[in-house]
């Protein structure tokens, strides 16, 4: 380890949450505000986020350069030039390792050539673009702030500056046909993206879209339709050289998201900004001043979702602790979402070897080369396995 003495080091993965969006999408239940609802200026927000990130370095932890930074939201591109400033400041204060993956999320309504050039200059390597669909009627149903033309233009800008591009797509949307869905997948591939994420729409209660469904404006989405669309996308993407490396994520060779992979493989990460989450080992957490029970092995925290206090240097946080066994079971659960699966040693540590053996009988999981994986038939039925794994029975 590069840390001097026994002082724990800061995690190598940092997530920064930007709670800003142009308008609220009809299906969204995340915490985000429009610019006019934000109780502070964009510049003040940006410097508060940077301060909060840097404050971790003042907590008795030794700093080390970040392997990955992920600026998500909300809509980070709404910060405009300040987003480049944010990335730059984190590079200055915390530092990036050589070859670090630096991702920002952007929506087509708030990114153009000029912003991309600033981001590239600040060191951003990857843009995750919230396209969702290349069809205007579907975008309208979702209440997105952009249209297909802007989505194509935004993708082109990202590629023009040679940044890695990831495109988010959504299926199972009312009024979306299989044909239009597959066309969107083809468009995404055509943008030159090396990474595509595919999500089924989930209707969260309290959102305008859920309300419209209750009012009978459209029928409840059929889960089978979403399943069919996910399977069809899987086929098309595979044909074009994309590998599904996680339930919802596809990448060309070498283009997997390293930041997200860290979430799924039990690595520590910091979260900064209102509503952001972080995960620390107890050693790191204790060094940072968290009070942690004796038998805990892992700490998960969430920054309280309050802009006023949430942006103070020492944020109020909700804390959850996991024992070593729980942490291992959590890693098995998350690891099984990956096509690489989990190795038998972890399964053994989690105490679920017998369970997985039994579940193999249902055809949902299989073991080969000392690894456990979901089967080809089981990748959309993970919860059937995960619930038992988490319960440890």
């Amino acid at each position: 380890m590069s840390s001097p003495g026994d002082i724990p080091t800061l995690p190598e993965h940092l997530y920064v949450h930007v709670p800003l969006c142009r308008t609220k999408c009809a299906y969204c239940d995340f915490f985000s505000l429009s610019r006019s609802d934000l109780p502070l200026s964009v510049d003040a927000l940006t410097s508060a986020l940077v301060n909060q990130a840097c404050a971790w370095g003042e907590r008795g932890l030794s700093m080390r350069p970040l392997q990955t930074l992920y600026v998500g939201g909300g809509t980070p591109s709404m910060l405009g030039a300040a987003l480049a400033g944010l990335v730059d400041a984190i590079g200055t204060h915390i530092g990036f390792a050589t070859g670090a993956e630096i991702t920002v999320e952007a929506n087509p309504d708030s990114i153009d050539d000029q912003l991309v050039s600033l981001l590239a200059e600040a060191g951003v390597t990857r843009v995750s673009l919230g396209v969702q669909s290349f069809h205007d009627d579907v975008l309208h149903t979702l209440g997105r702030a952009h249209d297909a033309t802007r989505a194509i233009a935004a993708a082109r800008s990202v590629r023009a500056w040679n940044l890695d591009l990831s495109v988010d797509l959504m299926c199972g949307i009312p009024g979306q046909s299989m044909g239009s869905w597959l066309a969107s997948v083809e468009y995404a591939i055509a943008t030159g993206a090396g990474h595509v994420s595919v999500y089924p729409l989930s209707l969260e209660s309290g959102t305008p879209l859920a309300a419209e469904m209750l009012l009978g404006r459209f029928a409840e989405p059929d889960p089978d339709v979403a399943a069919d669309m996910m399977i069809a996308a899987n086929e098309v993407l595979a044909r074009e050289g994309f590998e599904r490396y996680e339930v919802a994520n596809y990448a060309k060779p070498g283009a997997q998201s390293r930041h997200n992979t860290a979430y799924w493989t039990g690595h520590e990460y910091l979260g900064v900004g209102p509503g952001a989450h972080g995960m620390l080992t107890t050693a790191t957490a204790r060094a940072a001043g968290f009070i942690v029970p004796e038998d805990a092995a892992r700490v998960r925290y969430a920054i309280a979702c309050d802009l006023q206090t949430g942006l103070q240097p020492a944020p109020r946080a909700d804390i959850e602790t996991l024992t070593a066994g729980e942490a291992a079971r959590e890693d098995v659960m998350l690891g099984l979402r990956l096509t690489t699966g989990v190795d038998v040693a972890l399964v053994e540590r989690a105490g679920v070897a017998g369970l997985l053996g039994r579940l193999a009988g249902t055809g949902l999981v299989e073991r080969s080369d000392d690894r456990w994986r979901l089967t080809e038939g089981g990748w959309l039925l993970g919860n059937e396995v995960f619930g038992d794994v988490w319960a440890g029975e």
Binding site: Y15, V198, Y199, P200, S202, P223, D224, A226, A227, D228, M230, V247, A248, N260, Y263, W264, Y269, G271, G275, A276, H277, G278, M279, R300, A302, E320, E330, M333, L334, R337, T362, W379, L380, L381, G382, N383, E384, F386, G387, D388, W390, A391
Partner: protein
Amino acid sequence: MTDPTLIRNFSIIAHIDHGKSTLADRMLELTNTIADRDMMEQVLDSMDIERERGITIKAQAVRVYFEASDGQTYQLNLIDTPGHVDFTYEVSRSLAACEGVLLVVDASQGVEAQTVANAQLAMNAHLEIVPLINKIDLPAADPERVRHEIEEGLAIPADEAVLTSGKTGIGVREALEAVVKHVPHPVGDPDAPLKALIFDSYFDAYRGVVALVRIVDGHVRKGMKVRMLATQTVTDVEEVGVRRPANLPVDELGVGEVGYLITGLKDPSLVKVGDTVTLARNGTEDPLPGYREVKPMVYTGLFPIDGDQYPELRDALDKLQLNDPALIYDPESSHALGFGFRVGFLGLLHMEVVKERLEREFDLDLLATAPSVEYHIFRTNGTSEYIHSPQDMPDPGTIDHIEEPYLKVTVLVPPEYVGPVMELAEGHRASFKDMQYLSKTTVEMHYEMPLSELIMDYFDQLKSRTKGYASMDYEYIGYRTSELVKLDVLLATKIVDALSFIVHKDKAYARGKVLTEKLREIIPRQMFEVPIQAAIGGRIIARETVKAKRKDVLAKCYGGDITRKRKLLEKQKKGKKRMKNVGNIEVPQEAFMAILKVDE
């Protein structure tokens, strides 16, 4: 002994929520029977569930002393009667212990179905009826209209009706004065051998069975040997006393008095409501009229969700039965649900209350199958039998005909709802008898219908179709022949015995169809396809399919989603635990009640 001319035994009767319990509380307060100001609200409803639901399940008796305006102090025995049709027999026995009733009518609601039913019970028992118009503090109170309804609808003179508010206490003293003035004092022969009516009983863990009694002739003292005529049980009287409302031992209960007897008996089935207590030797051989065996009317299967809880369920039923002899049960086993009990109840409310107590007081997780009634099966070979579970239905080829219990149902509604009530009746095989206007705002309708239809969600439907305005009452009128068939439900081509039910031939097709549709909605998708079929004697009459689950995974699972995802999985898991595994199909509890919600 107290001079009988200074005793008044009375009961308060009312439609539910017209303020009976509140009024009783005020009377106890006024007579300083409960000095403690932090007295529990509504002392007479002593069970948790009674208080929560605002219904009285067990009868109660409280003695109070009231100094009337004539300067005399009277012994008043207030007997609170159960407030629900399930307990009509118990009500009739409580009334038999009285000489009069206070008929409470809500000043804004007016006369309702149970007002009529209770008033009729009181009239049949030849009791003096003292009308009382309550809740006059309400802005919507209209005592004049209500007075009119009492006179027109019930033919009870109401010009002297007492006006009260249980809430403010207005008129409560006047109500007690009216009791003293109008309710006749008890009359009996103090020199005759003991003759007392048991109008309720309960089980005390330390003392055994305690009977609440009204002395008709003679007297009873501690140490006497007594006999109960119906069961011919002989026992010693360990203690006599009165309830104020806590037990207070006294030396003797004489003619006209109301109190309790501690028998020392450990078997509650020996002490029956309505039975007559007399001396063991040289007693009367002439029982008081009106006694009958109470018989359960509604049956359901109760199964522990967790099969290991079967012994606990049996113990819990044993314990409940001590205080509720009307509860009967026999072991029942089901291929689908394992071991449980077939439990008989006086009615639907009784059933709900018992199930709730079992779950709450005994911490059991129970699954109830759809209630059924007791059918009388006549075989072609001349024999006959009663069955109370669809599982016991014999081969149709051996059945000559089947009879089922029928009710006379009385519905009171505002005239504008007569149409919806008629419509609902048609859907429930009810035959309309007659209808009359009680007043301009209330129509009384009479139907005859099978009990099995009444338990098919009839009451909830009646309430919702009349915007809550209808009130209902019923009485049993005996068994009648119906063309009934057993309808089976198959999941994944196997009959699930616990889902079978008995239905009229003409309704079988429609109900089978709606039921399979309902079950398709209720049964969650499994890892495999689950066909649902309804069948009569092997002939499939309806079919639906629960498609196999295709997708069950949280697509987005990033940093912040992980905790949420775990919580979701925990919730899913808990939900599964609440379901019953039938074969390898997870069936939610409500599936077994779905038939009750089938309104074709």
